[in-house]
């Protein structure tokens, strides 16, 4: 079984006259434990495809099977349960402004229920240590640099040991010196846990880290290279 199987996927934005197709007949299967990078020009549908696979958008036509579960027509509770098995890293890091790094990461554990507070605290501290923020645990996002915020976001996505990680241009807001190490960290942490990672990026600097590069243009897959 593949963690992600996309079959005959179409997607439209807008209503009526303004309705515009963004994804055309996409078929894609992703291997377990791989790092797949989606590339393509702006408006090519990379992010749309990513959010469709990541349960962040309703599937309109075709099929997306995630970890064996069909997302097309799935109910709210199925979607919520699926989302809890994923880790999402956003372009704008999307940390909660009023929560410290520790609290932000903790929200990713508390979504699974109350659990054991001491064990959760230990997991959060360990994870923030892994991303190199051991000394910034109780900082609010406002007091962290862009790279540090993105590392908190990575810790938040990874702490609950998700089956799949989706990353939407995680390096877009970062400079070169910060971008490469962050993606490398993401790849290493993913590999050590056997996590499947799908990333959208504009950033040519990080392509060499990919196992597979899928290129989209105008909502269609135009190139699919396996590097490893």
């Amino acid at each position: 079984m593949f963690p992600i199987e996309v079959t005959a996927l179409n997607h439209w934005f807008g209503e009526g006259e303004a309705r515009k197709q963004a994804i055309f007949d996409v078929n894609l299967t992703i291997d377990q434990g791989s790092l797949t990078i989606l590339v393509g020009p702006s408006g090519s549908g990379k992010t749309t495809l990513l959010t469709l696979m990541g349960c962040l958008r309703d599937v309109q036509d075709g099929s997306v099977r995630l970890l064996g579960t069909e997302l097309h027509g799935a109910g709210m509770s199925v979607l919520e349960a699926m989302r809890r098995r994923l880790g999402f890293i956003f372009q704008a890091h999307n940390l909660h402004e009023s929560l410290t790094a520790r609290q932000n990461v903790l929200t990713s554990l508390q979504v699974h229920g109350r659990g054991n507070p001491a064990r959760q605290a230990a997991a959060v501290e360990h994870m923030l240590g892994l991303v190199g923020l051991a000394d910034r645990i109780d900082y609010l996002p406002g007091n962290l640099s862009g790279g540090q915020k993105q590392r908190v976001a990575i810790a938040r996505a990874l702490v609950s040991n998700p089956d799949i990680i989706f990353a939407d241009e995680p390096t877009a807001a970062l400079d070169k010196e910060t971008a490469i190490p962050i993606v490398r960290m993401l790849k290493e942490l993913g590999q050590s846990r056997g996590t499947t990672t799908v990333m959208v990026t504009h950033d040519n600097r990080v392509l060499e880290l990919a196992d597979r590069i899928v290129t989209l243009e105008d909502g269609r897959i135009v190139k699919d290279e396996r590097l490893r």
């Binding site: 990541g54 962040l56 699926m82 704008a92 909660h96 402004e97 009023s98 929560l99 609290q103 109350r114």
Partner: protein, 391 residues
């Protein structure tokens, strides 16, 4: 606080952290909630004062049954009754006693030239059982013609000076062209209809109101015999007096009818009721604005939580948490300001405007419910939208 809330909510107190993260915005939200509270509390206070003065007007007398003219909606607006009604009531075997009650308004011209409108209560001096505790003990002393007890709560009067009025230090004044001597005082206070009250004997009343034909009381007070059922006597008297233009009610019913009439039929009551409704609506709008702004400000963050798999009830619980915090913290300053305004209005008008525990608790609970409902309503967008559309 964060620790306490964590234990209480069994999750991160995100509502509290959100609110305290931006103190300026929280202060503005609290000011909004407090203002909504002040609005509603003050309007309810004024309506409560109206209800209070209506009830207080019944304090100088008591009895089981109250017979009034059929056109009497309040204490003071009915036609006089025929004295034979009194004797007809007394002929019922289960009526223990009955007495006439006279009511009228006079102008008290004070030494400084100012005029106070006084409600005059006239009772037979021997009808002590029908006098309220306020005047019961002093009632027999009013057998001296042209003597009265004066209301030391009279609006615009020097309460301390009036409290000194006694048989040894009487107060003489002019009313309806007669010289009246006040030989005692009681505390009733002004109302929407009059500035204060006087208590006199039925004889003195008829001298003050020469146009009131002797023996035409405003109302008749009836006590039933010990062990008799007042409701039964009311029914029997109603039947016996069917040919007279009167209505027979228990005193409590008469009071309740008066209250209903004055708050729903009289312009003052209707206006105050309307003001309360307006205040509640404006308060709701303010509270909705505060909560929906707050939800809108955090929509992107909530969308992130939704993307992580949090269910909708999680957002509702954050909204509820914020509602409790804003409702509770906003209520206190609102209450304090309202109490200050109560004092100001009471000092200015002499009306018995005061906070009651019931009113405070109701407004408090109402505020929290309004906050929670507004927040939930504002969070509805979150329920239907895909997370990807909200970042």
């Amino acid at each position: 606080m964060t620790h306490l809330l964590t234990l209480l909510l069994r999750r991160l107190p995100i509502g509290w952290l959100q609110l305290t993260h931006n103190r300026g915005r929280m202060a503005a939200a609290l000011a909004g909630v407090a203002f909504a509270n002040v609005l509603v509390l003050v309007q309810l206070g004024i309506l409560g004062a109206l209800n209070g003065t209506i009830a207080v007007a019944y304090a100088p007398f008591q009895g089981d049954i109250f017979i009034s003219a059929s056109d009497a909606n309040t204490l003071t607006d009915g036609s006089p009754l025929a004295r034979r009604v009194l004797y007809q009531a007394l002929s019922d075997p289960q009526v223990a006693a009955a007495a006439p009650l006279y009511l009228g308004n006079v102008e008290w011209t004070r030494q400084d030239g100012s005029i106070a409108e006084m409600t005059v209560y006239g009772l037979p001096v021997e009808a002590q059982r029908f006098a309220g505790p306020l005047i019961r003990d002093a009632l027999p002393t009013l057998s001296v013609p042209d003597t009265a007890l004066i209301d030391r709560g009279t609006r615009g009067a020097d309460a301390e000076a009036l409290a000194q009025v006694s048989p040894d230090t009487p107060l003489q004044f002019e009313a309806n062209g007669r010289t009246v001597t006040a030989t005692g005082n009681f505390a009733l206070g002004g109302s929407f209809n009059a500035d204060g009250s006087l208590a006199v004997s039925d004889q003195t009343f008829l001298r003050l109101f020469p146009n009131r034909i002797s023996g035409t009381p405003s109302h008749i007070l009836v006590d039933v015999a010990p062990g008799a059922d007042p409701a039964e006597v009311v029914a029997r008297l109603t039947e016996r007096l069917a040919s007279e233009p009167v209505q027979v009610r228990s005193l409590a019913t008469a009071k309740a009818d008066d209250l209903t009439y004055q708050t729903t039929q009289r312009p003052t009551g209707v206006i105050f009721g309307f003001s309360v409704a307006m205040a509640v609506v404006i308060g709701l709008v303010i509270v909705y604005q505060v909560l929906s702004t707050d939800v809108a400000d955090h929509l992107a963050e909530y969308a992130t939580f939704k993307a992580m798999g949090y269910p909708h009830r999680f957002f509702l619980s954050i909204v509820l948490e914020e509602s409790f915090i804003l409702g509770a913290l906003g209520f206190l300053p609102g209450l304090l300001v309202a109490l200050g305004l109560y004092q100001g209005v009471a000092a200015l008008t002499g009306l018995p405007i005061a906070m009651t525990v019931t009113r405070g608790v109701m407004v408090f609970i109402g505020t929290i419910i309004a906050c929670a409902a507004s927040g939930s309503l504002a969070a509805r967008r979150l329920r239907t939208a895909d997370p990807a559309e909200l970042f």
